[in-house]
Subunit: 440 residues, 2 copies
């Protein structure tokens, strides 16, 4: 018997604030970071990898939460655990004492997500398949067993969920073949950070178009004049065909979002992302009603399936943006995919940061293969940095994600990277002031 | 100049699971705990005290979050900080890197609450007043400066908030005098834990009535048959006048909550508390519509003012239950009181646990003195245990909280208690298996 023997954890941080990569209206100077966990087993050849993406300070808090889960999984029979990933999910999310710290939100919930994702990494490796393909190989009932439908029954019964998954089994082989040939569409946010000059923005937009991206995304929300200028510049440069989305990163009040959107609508906006608080279902719905037909997108900071359910119920979003590390792992993201399928809303996963592209691509491939079965309106965010730290980095070619082929969840980082960027003792950090160039 | 020199933190846990005090349908065996922080200053005579209440495992995670805030306040001029408690609140809540861990929810947000509450403790001590009376001594504009109205403007403008606070200044002296004479109404949850036998329930109910409580609360939600029996027994014993509230602690799906409530309505239920997920605004509203006129109460697990705003907008609650430790301190709870006043919904604070009565009573007294200015329908939860660990424990007499008179926020624990119940090294814990009798 192989058993789970414990965790190795790493506080990994990249000094991205030095270049303003990742700067937006809410996050002026992030240091992209990962609270990273290696799930060790009694078989040295078998380990699972997961992480929570953070933007610097507080990465240590996230690690403390991950370590709080170690006693709950250490000693478990590995294969029995992998045979019942729904069970371990319910056990971690439902731990009555830890649940108090959320419930099902924030630091503790994301930590559970990292541990569950590490278990899915192990499960896919055991099957010798990339995660998306392993998930797509499961039957409708096996998939349903992975998911906790608690608090969803008012919009999604167990029978309805099963029906969606059974429909997803039809024609699956052909879709898997298509995914392996063509991948899924990507869009790029790399050109559009708020901290970049107009010249840099222009250069990167041209590059994005040359690279074959059919959609780019620009950050907005600091200055309306600047946004009008930057969007005018982008639309002129890209012509009428390339889609341009904008992302406010939660900075607006309701009325402000509506005013801003109306000023930008002449640039033919693909979607307005995160106009206000990610908890504000009713305000997001009010904004969407007021700015229609401009689509509204949200989800990267949505804490759990209960909030996604309500965003869909309230008609608040046109585009649902799941994140691989915000919720309780692959399990809860399957619940999110089922909710989106029920409401017929396309899922366009949030990515970027460090490792988010690697992790979330599997959910997009799986969604097309076996849940939504549709590709129209679906595209996955792509930001081309920090991929070199991963053992099986995500690959985008001609504006499309290439189907991952290595066994596992693509969440494993190189040991050398874990050590080099270890905070605060790694060589990159020694002698610096630490994370937070935006200062205290 | 007195400066803030740093934190002392304590992981304090009480082995309450041994007696099933605090057992409910969601939390079968809590070990009441506090992630406790003493804010130290360069003046030995001045320190502030705050904490996050948890129920055992994970208390260390909460402490890690509190410690992550230490660099943000260490070195600040104490009096300048106390002169601008709105400013420090916005700085901590708005820290762009730490914000990613919520935003404004869960472990990180509660940690910010503990630090802010410790600062309010210091501010009230500086004024030589109990916190409620110090808050009540402030002008409408000074109070408004404490509050972050971000994301509230669609229902509460700055002008409206100021108007509520200015109205609250009228007749204030008379209300303060009344509070000092009569206190505020309490209700008791002590009899109603799920883990208690019928005999114990009956004995405690009689005791509660003899002690002068006009309302008791019973936990429900594990077995409908048991709940019908226990409520029948309680109603028979108490007669028709004593109010009986019930608390489901989030265990129901929407339809289940409605069915359960209809079975219990013959017992004349004062309110149904937390019928479902605390994030589920729309389901709570649907439940309220279906079970009217039975009132619905919620809030102890509401993550922030944005969720409270929506519960009120959606008409989801008849009773708003703020908690002293769940949100970003006194600042955000003043925002919550303003929202409740705007919608005319009574605030009946959640308490119990360890220190929650001590901390939240100040907000109830302040609410009556200077915000809602009403007492009808307002009552504060009371559970009579663990008060002996506090330097200025909350006092309830003849079913009413006595106005706190000691300077400060009543959040300071005895050093002997901090040491005795220190986890895992304190004498109470040495030689045990640790928190979590429900087993891991």
């Amino acid at each position: 018997m192989t058993s789970i023997t414990g965790f190795h954890t790493y506080d990994v941080r990249f000094p991205t604030s030095a270049t303003l990569d990742g700067s937006d209206a809410m996050n002026p100077s992030p240091d992209y970071a990962a609270a990273y966990v290696t799930l060790r087993t009694s078989d040295e050849a078998r380990s699972g990898h997961g992480f929570v993406f953070t933007i610097g300070r507080g990465n240590d808090v996230e690690l403390a939460a991950i370590r709080a889960l170690e006693p709950l999984v250490t000693g478990l029979d590995l294969d029995a655990t992998l045979d019942d990933l729904g069970g371990i999910s319910r056990r971690l999310v439902g731990d009555s004492q830890l649940r108090w710290l959320g419930p099902e939100k924030g630091v503790m919930h994301m930590a559970i997500g990292a541990v569950l994702n590490a278990l899915f990494d192990l499960a896919a490796k055991r099957a010798g398949l990339p995660l998306w393909k392993w998930l797509a190989s499961l039957s409708a009932r096996e998939l349903l067993d992975l998911v906790d439908l608690r608090y969803l029954s008012d919009v999604l019964s167990r029978d309805e969920a099963l029906e969606i998954l059974e429909e997803g089994q039809q024609g699956k082989a052909a879709r898997i073949a298509a995914l392996e040939t063509d991948g899924v569409e990507a869009y790029t946010t790399s050109p559009g950070w708020l901290g970049y000059t107009d010249e840099r923005l222009k250069g990167l937009l041209v590059e994005a178009q040359e690279d074959g991206f059919a959609q780019v995304k620009l950050k907005i929300g600091k200055s309306l004049d600047d946004d009008v200028r930057r969007l005018g510049l982008a639309r002129d440069l890209l012509g009428p065909t390339t889609r341009i989305a904008v992302d406010a990163n939660q900075v607006f009040e309701t009325e402000q979002a509506i005013t801003w959107a109306r000023e930008l609508e002449r640039f033919d906006i693909a979607w307005l992302e995160e106009p206000t608080s990610p908890d504000d279902i009713l305000a997001t719905a009010a904004i969407r009603r007021a700015i229609a037909p401009m689509p509204v997108a949200a989800g990267e900071h949505v804490a759990n399936r209960v909030v996604f359910k309500q965003l869909l119920q309230a008609g608040a979003i046109d585009v649902m943006q799941i994140d691989a590390c915000r919720v309780a792992g692959v399990n809860e993201n399957i619940a999110n995919l089922l909710l989106a399928a029920k409401f017929g809303v396309p899922v366009c996963p949030h990515a970027g940061g460090v490792g988010l592209c690697e992790a979330v691509q599997h959910l997009a491939f799986f969604d097309y293969a076996a849940v939504s079965t549709r590709s129209e309106g679906r595209r996955v965010e792509w930001i081309d940095h920090l991929h070199e730290h991963f053992v099986a980095p995500a690959v985008v070619r001609r504006g499309r994600y290439v189907a991952p082929s290595a066994p596992g969840a693509s969440t494993e980082m190189h040991l050398a990277s874990l050590e080099q960027f270890s905070y605060p003792s790694g060589p990159v950090w020694v002698g610096t002031n630490g994370t937070g160039a935006d200062g205290h």
